[in-house]
């Protein structure tokens, strides 16, 4: 995947040794990927695949030769994958103690509903937030 210098915008090919040394033009040391849509989709699949491999170690990444095979594998395990993600992301607010809170900004921004984990480990669902939120003018 090609890299672009964050400071001057010069583009380097994937694996260019100059990326490690810093930009030859401006000396910048930060680069970001330039990804086409196809590359991004393929990468996502690869990341998913790595997660699956961690879950089910009997299937190795090397054994999957083509993207079609990866896709077929995803379809088969779709349900399994969804459950794992859902189990990991539950509470948006965690009450650690009186006056100490931990907020998951990502979940708060993506979901309307508030799920609070109390300090005893129990969960509270904030009912009004489970219904469509409508701001009054």
């Amino acid at each position: 995947m090609p890299h672009k210098c964050a400071r001057c915008g010069r583009v380097y090919d994937d694996g260019d040794i100059q990326i490690l040394k810093g930009c030859s033009f401006c000396g910048g040391k930060k680069f970001y990927y330039i990804a086409t849509k196809n590359i991004e989709t393929r990468d996502k699949n690869e990341i998913k695949d790595l997660i699956y491999n961690n879950i089910q170690s009997d299937i190795q990444l090397d054994n999957l030769d083509t993207l079609n095979e990866i896709e077929r594998f995803h379809k088969k395990n779709k349900k399994n994958f969804k459950n794992i993600i859902d189990d990991r992301e539950i509470e948006s607010i965690k009450v650690i103690d009186d006056g100490s809170y931990q907020l998951d900004l990502d979940i708060l921004m993506r979901r309307d509903e508030l799920i609070i984990e109390k300090k005893d480990g129990s969960y509270a669902l904030h009912m009004p937030s489970l219904f469509k939120y409508k701001k009054k003018e």
């Binding site: 672009k4 964050a6 400071r7 915008g9 910048g28 930060k30 970001y32 607010i93 650690i96 009186d98 006056g99 100490s100 809170y101 931990q102 907020l103 998951d104 900004l105 990502d106 708060l108 921004m109 993506r110 508030l114 939120y133 701001k135």
Partner: protein, 211 residues
């Protein structure tokens, strides 16, 4: 709202639509103590002469969303009408112990932490109702924080126009270039909201970006 003012507002919004005088609702977001309220006050003072809210060195001074309507900013011969929404600081951890060092009593600090947590949720709820966001960062701090990266990622997913403000450039340790390097896909405007440095560039960028 009385019936008369409601009719008046509808009439003016109708007139605005006909003559193309567009109004945009801009939210000021960012981590605590980045200077969000100082910037909101500066914008409002420059264009209306008023002030919106108090500022303090104690984090989470703004714990409710505050809104100032109908601020008209002039850039050259054109103008843009804004509603400015100042929001509480976004944070992932709110611990009352952090407030005790500012000479707050324990009870007071616990209430502050609770209100600040509610403030974060209120600020996030407002995102659905905005046309654009000014994301204020403290240029003396590292921009690679969970808050900055999460907020930018979410704004990009929402396709909400975003302008990054690198604040506090009047301080000798400020490094606005670091913010530019961290988020090269966005426009970054270095300013000092307190001293008013480069504020004209910000007004021009607001006009170009959110029009």
């Amino acid at each position: 709202m009385s019936a008369w003012s409601s009719i008046k507002e509808k009439f003016w919004s109708f007139i605005s639509k006909i003559f193309g005088d567009k109004k945009v609702k801009i939210g000021i977001y960012g981590p605590p103590n980045a200077g969000k309220t100082t910037l909101a006050n500066k914008i409002i003072k420059d264009w209306t002469g008023e002030e919106l809210n108090g500022v303090s060195e104690i984090p989470h001074e703004t714990r409710r969303v505050l809104r100032k309507k109908d601020i008209s900013i002039d850039v050259g011969k054109s103008s843009l009408k804004l509603d400015i929404v100042d929001t509480p600081g976004l944070a992932t951890k709110l611990d009352y112990h952090d407030f005790l060092k500012y000479d707050l009593e324990e009870d007071e600090a616990k209430i502050r932490a609770k209100e600040a947590a509610e403030g974060v949720i209120e600020a996030i709820r407002w995102l659905d109702d905005l046309d654009g966001v000014l994301l204020v960062m403290d240029a003396t701090e590292s921009p690679y924080t969970q808050v900055n990266i999460t907020v930018i990622g979410n704004m990009e997913a929402r396709k909400l126009p975003l302008l990054i403000v690198a604040n506090k450039i009047d301080l000798p340790t400020a490094k606005p270039l670091k913010i530019m390097e961290a988020f090269p896909q966005h426009t970054v405007i270095p300013i000092s909201a307190l001293k008013g440095e480069n504020i004209e560039t910000l007004y021009k960028s607001i006009y170009d970006h959110f029009r």
